[in-house]
């Protein structure tokens, strides 16, 4: 008996000015049309990269590729705000590294990519878009059955690129069994937490990110759960529309990065009245979960039916397909912990405490972290200090995960290079603690900066900055600073200017902002140009990110003192 419910669950696609329904039957008919096309087109090879905005067609094409026995991945399209040339420049390197057999574009999508690179131009394949309502319903059976059969495949069904939209991507391959184990472990848990109410998902998340791809597409698809979707660009332009969608579709669960909760709290004053009581679970995921932002969001939207305690934390990543842990409904709790802990410290000895208080004053030298709950079935979480697993609870250290749907390594990298120990534990690079069986995630290796849910590797940013005009090559440092006002990190760049370039400071700064924004779709919050004596180096002569961060805060950010 199939564990999946592929034949049920309608879709609703919401745009800035309208919405359309699609039955599950209609979706599979659409997928069958694309399956026929994929099998008949010799240009479409083993691995297809779909570049498109969220739509029924791009989702149907995704499952059609899997049904056809190919591997597939989504890739971020250009935004209306982005210069086409800058988009090409940014994405050329990433696409070359991904190295797909084919770059699959839906009608009209090829315009921006024609000039991408002669090495890639020959891989561009433009596919038609279909009107789902005019497709024979009976045809859907073929795609659905082929897709379900493909879920047994041990080879990679699809690739997730774990670095979001950064230029340098790490690819995680997901097999049929891994996807099945994630689904069988996580979806019943979500259903249980809804207390008898059915899963009705509302999502604006990008499908090229694991949270959107799994929680906002594949898991609802497998579970027969109704799914209402908005494209993320439409969400940025009209976030209030997402609340309208939740009300109209009677959605019961959503996943959002922490910054989105803060964003909605800031928007409360200008958002019109909505009825949101159908939403039982607001799952905070993808970034460290900040308890004050959860409380503020619940308070701001209480009059619209958002229940106290309905924001819960989830710890997820592409390396475990998606969810690794989640806080149980009704168990909302936080850890108030001093900042600046070193790995190996006992959080309780350092004065940390758990709380379920609805109002909380958090001193500046502490942070209140929403729990990400217990590991889901099939996942084991351990804390490591100095490469050794720590017995017992309460010790701050690196989170290591093992289990049946932990990946085997990044594409093109060995297991050790991918952070896997000989015992099969994935060393996440995230720092946290386990208390009373629940995970609290509140730190990371210092080279990763998370801005509005996007992971940036500081080294990648520094490389871009170092190549900008007016900057001495190799003389730049990038780091993140938590911004309580935004509920996320600020990207800070400090760079040594090169007077020989003949540019004034404003021009150099503008060039850096443009280079970083174009490459990573994140604008630096602050760009500081300094002279040759400012940057602090380690004893081995390397620029110290940590020490320069401390110096920056001391010299330039008295507002954060």
């Amino acid at each position: 008996m199939s564990p999946f419910t592929l034949e049920r669950g309608e879709f609703a696609f919401w745009t800035g000015d309208g919405h359309a329904e699609l039955t599950r039957e209609g979706f599979w008919s659409l997928a069958s049309a694309y399956l026929d096309h994929v099998e008949a087109d010799p240009r479409i090879g083993r691995f297809g990269l779909i570049v498109a905005r969220t739509s029924p067609d791009m989702m149907a094409l995704f499952v059609a590729m899997i049904a056809a026995g190919r591997a597939v991945s989504f890739f971020p399209p250009s935004s209306s705000r982005q210069d086409a040339e800058a988009y090409l420049e940014q994405q050329r390197e990433a696409v070359l590294k991904i190295d797909p057999s084919s770059i699959l574009l839906l009608e009209g999508g090829e315009g921006a990519l024609q000039g991408i690179d002669p090495r890639l131009a020959e891989r561009l394949v433009s596919l038609p878009t279909y009107s789902a309502g005019h497709l024979p319903a009976a045809a859907g059976e073929r795609a659905r059955m082929r897709f379900e059969a493909a879920l047994q495949r041990e080879d990679t069904l699809f690739w997730q690129h774990s670095s979001g939209t950064t230029g340098i991507k790490k690819a995680v391959g997901v097999t049929g069994p891994a996807l099945r184990r994630q689904y069988e472990s996580y979806w019943p848990l979500v259903e249980g937490d809804l207390g008898g109410q059915s899963i009705r998902v509302a999502s604006w998340l990008p499908l090229y990110h694991d949270m959107g791809l799994l929680a906002g597409f594949l898991l609802p698809l497998l579970g027969g759960s109704p799914l209402a979707l908005m494209d993320p660009f439409d969400w940025v332009d009209a976030p209030q529309r997402y609340l309208e969608m939740i009300e109209a579709e009677r959605s019961s669960v959503c996943w959002m990065p922490n910054f989105a909760f803060r964003h909605y709290t800031r928007l409360r004053r200008v958002v019109g009245p909505r009825k949101l009581e159908s939403m039982r679970l607001w799952i905070s995921c993808s970034e460290p979960c900040r308890y004050p932002d959860a409380l503020s969001f619940e308070a701001a939207y209480r009059d619209m039916g958002v229940a106290a305690g309905s924001v819960v934390g989830c710890y997820a990543m592409a390396e475990t397909v998606f969810a690794a842990s989640q806080l149980e409904a009704g168990d909302q709790r936080a850890l108030v912990v001093p900042r600046g802990l070193e790995p190996g410290a006992s959080v309780l000895d350092a004065g940390a405490f758990e709380t379920r208080a609805r109002e909380l004053d958090v001193p500046a030298d502490r942070q209140a972290v929403l729990s990400s709950g217990a590991p889901i079935p099939g996942i084991e979480a351990m804390i490591f200090v100095g490469g050794r697993a720590v017995a017992g609870e309460g010790i701050y250290g690196e989170i290591g995960l093992s289990g049946g749907f932990v990946f085997d390594g990044y594409r093109g990298l060995g297991r050790a290079e991918s952070g896997l120990t000989p015992e099969g534990v994935y060393m996440t690079g995230d720092l946290g603690v386990v208390l009373n069986g629940r995970l609290y995630v509140f730190g990371r290796r210092k080279e990763i900066i998370i801005v509005n849910g996007r992971n940036l590797y500081a080294g990648d940013v520094e490389e871009r900055v170092g190549a900008a005009k007016g900057v001495r090559p190799g003389r730049a440092v990038a780091f993140g600073i938590e911004n309580p006002a935004l509920g996320t990190e600020e990207l800070i760049v400090v760079a040594e200017s090169d007077p020989a370039a003949g540019l004034d400071a404003a021009a150099v700064r503008a060039g850096i902002v443009a280079a970083v924004s174009d490459a990573f779709l994140v604008k630096p919050h602050d760009v500081r140009l300094i002279d040759g004596r400012w940057l602090v180096k380690t004893t081995s002569g390397k620029i110290s990110r940590d020490r320069n961060r401390t110096k920056y805060l001391r010299d330039f950010r008295s507002d954060l003192a």
């Binding site: 209306s80 940025v236 332009d237 964003h263 200008v270 935004l486 503008a510 902002v513 443009a514 994140v522």
Partner: protein, 80 residues
Amino acid sequence: MSFTIEDLIRIAREEIGNPRLTLREDMSADDVAEWDSLNHTIITMAIASEYGVEVTPRQLGAAQTFGELIALVNQAIDAR
């Protein structure tokens, strides 16, 4: 009723949370570190709400300068 650079500064300072923020009509969002896509949406919605006009982030995002943005808002005010 008209929308001025002083109004834009007031709203931007409030929504971005920087009381020392300074804008000029010849500047653009690219010149302001805190003016990212999320803050742009919030500022647009605050303008729309306060002045009772229908302007979208995409419309105001097309302005090359804050001067152009102010002109777009005033056009919307006149069209009410």
